[in-house]
Symmetry: C2
Subunit: 165 residues, 2 copies
Amino acid sequence: MAVGNRGEKAQRQDGADDMRRIDTSSLEDILGFHLRMANVALYHDFSRAMEDLGLTQKQVAVLELIAQNEGASQIDIAATLGMDRATMMSLVNRLEDRNLVARRPSPVDRRRQQLILTGEGQEILAACRDLIAAHERKFTGRFSKEELKTFVGFLKRVYAGDSSG
Amino acid sequence: MAVGNRGEKAQRQDGADDMRRIDTSSLEDILGFHLRMANVALYHDFSRAMEDLGLTQKQVAVLELIAQNEGASQIDIAATLGMDRATMMSLVNRLEDRNLVARRPSPVDRRRQQLILTGEGQEILAACRDLIAAHERKFTGRFSKEELKTFVGFLKRVYAGDSSG
DNA sequence: TATTGTTATACTCTATAACTATA
DNA sequence: TATAGTTATAGAGTATAACAATA
């Protein structure tokens, strides 16, 4: 591990005595590093795509899960996405403040609140889907169908059985 | 895409009228979703592993890059990791407050500050490496050498050429 | 006793804007 | 004009602790 020129300074691109090109070989063999770098790249593009709608990755995921699982509770969604229930609370508060989701008491368990999309929430989600599809194509277009399937399988293997909340 | 039972409610695990199992099929075909889920899983385990040292993924990456590129500037490190320079500033401030890194003026460009690890920074980084190695093995152990190579190649393809800062 | 929601609190990361010093 | 650092400010996610209502 850590091949490269550890200890030696990276060559600068101009004649200055400061370096510009950063040697990353010490992180090269760390899977988590590459995973985070890929995530950062996707995050940047996602944020750019969602600039007008003002929604984050997490918010969209929550909207999508509520749409597909109408009446789910905060804690169910949170567990699915690996989020804390207090984190979920503030996220839903933000969506509720923007009138995208609503809470209604569960008829069978009065501790629980069911989450539903408002009409506005459904509209913004529909707009999201188009933007996300275009955003996704920028990256999925770099892979063949087979590669993509393998790739997703690898990613699932990383997060499979993660119930660490 | 989106196979599953969209529209139908997921079956509950007990007799209650609320759902517990969340249907995620609407996110199944989104590469970014799986990437984030993998990242979340890794993040949780990393945080647990670093509980005593109190360092985040980003902080460790910065320490490692400074160690390998002694004298690099904040902006060089930031660009490498896809971070904003103001974000980098506060991150370095935190590391400096903990006496893990130090700033010294560049001898050739008085706008720049060179970053170096303190002795304490070198010590904590050494401790980090062991913890991270153990943490990484939990995940890399799920892949063959060939698979891992392919996996990292895929991840690089996602973030290759990302200079969106 | 355990679960769900809730509130309070705090930290990290992120990002924009504006300013200073320097190139 | 552009770059590096800096400061101020704000928003979003994360997490812990504690409490009330309910199971």
